[in-house]
């Protein structure tokens, strides 16, 4: 699957933009603030029906305009074409259309056009609190297992209610037995989520370490460890252990909401020992592992969006990384860079690679031919 065409209207700093893409590699080059990331964001919108991370729909509409439109054409493996349109309007619900018909529910869209994005912000996966890493587990597992998502929603709802009850009790014991009801209700979802997370880690670690070994040239080894109170004790013991503590602290201190995913580098905690380039290599490997999982679960080759990946990586790692993602096991690729020559020097030696380079200046993107014509006219 690949995106063959993109049309933007009043999206971020683009007034009106048409682009035709290579099914393999596309590079957006230009200065800071030119609009490179915005193009990746537009592609992400088409695939996921929303922006990446903290992006807010309202801010994706060009300043001063009342609405934005993102149109794209996906070419599927059987050559069929799907036309997707995302319409954002100020203070109105967004509309997503597939081949001219709006979806009744936006959730019907998600998963049809798998995408993985890597941005400089992803470093937070390592640096931030454990909630970010649990989300990584939950997102990956929910994609392949709707049951998992159901259990997670149930568990979190019970947890919120249980915590509210503990607050309400203000440190007094619960004579009504309501806490015990929550304990009983939580068991099934907790155990399901625990088992699935445990099963997930080994195969995922394998994908991760493979990618890392390639990028780093095996200079160091990374690992991943799943930590859960349930690895050491059973559910009943966990309940007994948390009861008294919960009463005093007025929140639920034990359970799968305290699980942690620990990243390691040569057996040490990654965030304590890794250099900036090593951190970046790790995050990239993590995303490439997710790419493989997504490919398996959707049975489609995801689109890969790489934003500012060259920053902080040494020449050798950049070369290894590009070699990896340009390989036949990856699909369509979009890369941004501030240096117009770097990517050219890295791949132009291989004439077999079909690729497009776009120069982005102040909300206008032009391919090489258009750019040449533009310069001649100037």
């Amino acid at each position: 699957m690949h995106l063959s065409h993109l049309k933007l209207t009043q999206f971020k700093n683009y007034e009106s933009q048409h682009l035709d893409f290579s099914p393999r590699l596309n590079c957006f080059v230009g200065f800071n603030g030119a609009g490179k990331t915005n193009l990746l964001e537009a592609i992400y919108y088409l695939c996921m029906s929303k922006g990446y991370g903290s992006t807010v729909d309202q801010y994706s509409i060009r300043h001063g305009d009342r609405g934005a439109r993102i149109g794209g054409t996906f070419v599927l493996d059987d050559e069929r074409e799907d036309r997707i349109v995302v319409k954002l309007r100020k203070r109105q619900r967004k509309v997503i259309e597939r081949n001219g018909t709006a979806y009744a529910r936006i959730s019907e869209h998600v998963g049809r056009y798998p995408v993985v994005i890597v941005t400089p912000d992803d470093i937070n996966l390592v640096l931030e609190g454990s909630a970010t890493r649990r989300k990584l587990l939950d997102n990956s597992l929910s994609q392949t297992d709707p049951q998992y998502l159901n259990h997670l929603i149930t568990y979190n709802r019970l947890l919120d209610n249980r915590n509210a009850r503990l607050k309400e009790l203000e440190g007094h014991p619960d004579h009504t037995g309501l806490l015990g009801v929550y304990d009983a209700q939580m068991e099934a979802p907790a155990m399901y989520i625990f088992e699935k997370r445990k099963e997930f880690v080994d195969p995922f670690t394998e994908l991760l370490t493979q990618a890392y070994a390639t990028i780093s040239g095996r200079r160091e080894e990374v690992g991943l460890e799943y930590k859960s109170q349930l690895l050491d004790t059973g559910w009943e013991t966990l309940l007994a252990e948390r009861a008294e503590k919960d009463r005093i602290l007025q929140r639920t201190t034990g359970g799968i909401h305290r699980d942690e995913l620990v990243f390691t580098q040569d057996e040490h905690p990654l965030r304590r020992v890794a250099s900036q380039g090593q951190l970046k290599s790790f995050v990239l490997s993590l995303k490439l592992a997710q790419y493989r999982l997504l490919e398996r679960s959707t049975n489609r080759t995801p689109i890969l969006l790489l934003d500012d990946i060259f920053d902080k990586l040494d020449h050798e790692r950049v070369k290894q990384l590009l070699g990896l993602v340009m390989g036949s096991t990856f699909g369509q690729l979009f890369i941004t860079d501030t240096d117009p020559e770097r990517i050219t020097s890295l791949i132009s030696h291989d004439p077999a690679v079909e690729w497009q380079r776009f120069l982005v200046v102040d909300g206008v993107a032009r391919n090489e031919a258009e750019w040449k014509r533009f310069l001649e006219e100037e």
């Binding site: 149930t154 019970l158 919120d160 009850r165 009504t176 037995g177 309501l178 009983a184 209700q185």
Partner: protein, 199 residues
């Protein structure tokens, strides 16, 4: 909205204060009343005032009632050995519509949900436990929405009823999980009561 009459404006605002009625609908209602004979408006106002002044909650089951004890609880033909526990008065009406049930009711007034500030003490649970210890009561049916909070409420009440010598059952889940009872169609709801399962 601009009004040339203060009287109209007040009436519109009074209607628009009710749930489900916007300013436009309110205006339509008011204008329609203006076109009808005066008696219609007087009758409407009396009906509302009289309802509000005299309506009460049945001291036995919590249902809405004109008297201290509601018409269902007073009805000699109803089977007092079965109590159907529901969240709200609307659920009583929904189940009555099905005409599948000949027992009596108990209205909780909600489900247990500490995140919304509703604990067991805020609901009609103690009165239910009391009622259930009466010797003639044999069965308590939980007809609670199949939501997470609904389940909590069912398990909680079930626990409270262990002392009472009653069989506790829950309506069969013909209703999709996460759905609200009040929106279930009559056929599904009727079948769910007939095919209730023991807890």
């Amino acid at each position: 909205m601009q009004f040339s009459s203060r009287l109209i404006e007040d009436a519109v605002n009074a209607f628009a204060g009710l749930p489900g009625i916007g300013k436009k609908t309110a205006l339509r209602l008011v204008l329609s009343l203006v076109q009808r004979p005066t008696e219609d408006s007087v009758h409407l106002a009396r009906a509302i005032a009289s309802m509000r002044e005299n309506i009460q909650h049945c001291i036995t089951c919590g249902n809405l009632s004109d008297q201290t004890v509601c018409s269902i609880c007073r009805d000699q033909r109803r089977d007092k050995s079965i109590i159907c526990v529901v969240e709200s008065i609307r659920d009583v009406m929904a189940i009555e519509e099905t005409q599948q049930y000949r027992g009596v009711y108990h209205v909780l007034g909600g489900v247990i949900s500490p995140i919304e500030g509703i604990g067991p003490a805020d609901l009609n649970i103690d009165t239910l436990v009391q009622r259930s210890t009466a010797p003639e009561v044999r069965e308590v049916i939980m007809a609670i929405s199949p939501t997470i909070e609904g389940d909590t409420t069912i398990f909680y009440i079930n626990k409270q009823l262990t002392e009472a010598d009653v069989q506790v059952s829950s309506i069969a889940r013909g209703v999709s999980f996460g759905g609200e009872l009040e929106y279930a169609d009559e056929v599904t709801l009727g079948r769910s009561i007939v095919a209730r399962r023991k807890l």
